[in-house]
């Protein structure tokens, strides 16, 4: 009996030890994975000036035919974010399909990446054409809105840099700091005094982080939403083409504020306020405005499964607020391409997730 108990206790201890060892192995594997991914992002930023380097053609295709001047003291600054989304989406789908292999290959990939643009190869032909058209379309909308507001601006085309957000957020500060300095020096060399940003992450970099990280940073950053708000204050007729019948119908949309706009930059409410001015009813969901709920995007590079769960939970907040019969017919609007991607992927019914620029263009008929 005693011997049996001892054996059983020993078995138990061995099982426990083996389970602890497995847990340790898993933890080590996770740690290594994080280290490899962050390393490659850092290499990309240092060598290729972007965490997710894409060809100049892919980055500038959106501006084709818009007749935007090259450079100038004020430039529309995309920060590459909208352009990256279709490729990120495609690369992630590929990676998740070969997750085990790609995890095993990480150490080798990290060694090869400085010489061969693996991120570029991973994203090659990975983007869906409709996605490219959609996200480029949002940038085109923004350029048209600015023109309609009478704002003169240029674009840096192939000379525009990624701002470095992901590396900053992930704590890879040395690479970020070097990059930020290079970006600033290039902007100065090109005579840029103002950057007009189009999404929250690049906006935060230029408004808050660069002034702390880069000596002498003196470039003004303003979002197109702020410019639109300002333009509406001084000239309420900008959207003179509003269709009155449409206005009477009082179209409603759910507003998903980005965390960065709402809490990092204290710009909660700007989308709702702009929508109101144009006759569209902004609906604020459970967890909205200042207390907006994250889409999960910031941890997508390391924990894509968690991102997906968080985005699905966010979509539930809109569902909770629906009346009977709405049945996914109220669109969700956002001003962040990362939120757009994650929410769009999380929808399981007919709900449409739109960039707010699309709502301005379509519903206000400013074109």
């Amino acid at each position: 009996m005693n011997s049996a108990m001892t054996n059983s206790r020993m078995d138990g201890n061995l099982n426990k030890m083996s389970s602890n060892m497995n847990m340790d192995n898993n933890k080590n594997a996770q740690t290594d994975r994080k280290c490899h991914i962050l390393s490659m992002l850092s290499q990309n930023l240092s060598i290729r000036r972007s965490a997710f380097p894409l060809s100049s053609i892919s980055l500038t295709a959106w501006a084709r035919g818009l007749d935007i001047r090259r450079g100038g003291s004020a430039v529309l600054y995309t920060g590459h974010m909208y352009q990256m989304i279709p490729y990120l989406k495609g690369a992630q789908k590929r990676q998740s399909a070969i997750k085990e292999v790609s995890d095993k290959m990480m150490p080798i990939a990290r060694l090869i990446n400085p010489f061969l643009n693996l991120t570029g190869i991973m994203s090659l032909f990975s983007a869906n054409k409709n996605d490219i058209k959609r996200y480029n379309g949002y940038l085109r909308n923004i350029a048209v809105i600015l023109k309609k507001c009478g704002i003169e601006f240029g674009y840096l085309y192939g000379l525009e840099d990624y701002a470095g957000t992901l590396l900053y957020d992930m704590g890879v500060y040395n690479a970020f700091e070097r990059h930020a300095d290079r970006v600033f020096r290039r902007l100065k060399r090109l005579g840029i005094k103002t950057v007009i940003t189009v999404e929250p992450h690049t906006t935060e970099m230029f408004k808050k982080i660069y002034p702390m990280a880069v000596d002498g940073f003196d470039i003004e950053a303003v979002t197109y939403l702020e410019l639109l708000e300002h333009a509406l204050k001084s000239n309420g007729n900008i959207f003179s083409h509003i269709n009155n019948a449409q206005k009477r119908q009082k179209k409603a949309v759910w507003v998903h504020d980005s965390c960065v706009y709402a809490r990092h930059l204290d710009m909660d409410g700007i989308i709702a306020s702009l929508l109101k001015k144009t006759g569209i009813e902004p609906l604020i969901p459970y967890y909205g405005g200042r207390l907006t709920h994250c889409c999960g995007g910031p941890i997508e590079a390391l924990f894509p499964e968690k991102t997906s769960q968080i985005a699905k939970r966010r979509i539930e907040h809109f569902k909770k607020g629906e009346n009977e019969g709405d049945n996914g017919h109220i669109p969700v609007v956002t001003a962040c391409p990362i939120c757009h991607l994650n929410l769009h992927e999380a929808v399981s019914d007919k709900t449409v997730v739109e960039d707010v620029s699309n709502v301005f263009i379509n519903d206000m008929r400013i074109m």
Binding site: K34, S39, M170, A175, C259, R263, L291, P298, I299, I310
Partner: protein, 100 residues
């Protein structure tokens, strides 16, 4: 057993405004957290203040899972820069553990 090394806390303070010592462990921050972390920020902050480097590395998954969305900060009665503190813990790990 926790190995404490005060140098680690000093290093974190040198990175930026690491104000974890303002946290009085009320746990309000976790009420709204979209991730639902396995470990509370207050525990991570205690490790940091103690200089428990091994524990910080052990919890690196949780540290890198934070969204930096700052919803927690809306609830914090003490004005702790929770997200920025977490970002600085990442910086500590990236520099000391990953050599980045």
């Amino acid at each position: 057993m926790i190995k404490a090394n005060q140098e680690i806390y000093k290093q974190l303070l040198s990175i930026g405004d690491f104000n974890a010592s303002k946290c009085f462990s009320c746990g309000s921050c976790t009420a709204l957290c979209p991730v639902g972390l396995d470990i509370l920020p207050r525990t991570l902050f205690r490790y940091a203040i103690l200089g428990a480097g091994d524990k910080i590395i052990e919890e690196s998954d949780a540290i890198f899972s934070c969204l930096l969305c700052r919803l927690c900060e809306e609830m914090c009665p003490e004005g702790v820069n929770i997200a920025e503190n977490i970002r600085m813990l990442r910086q500590y790990i990236a520099e000391r553990e990953y050599n980045l």
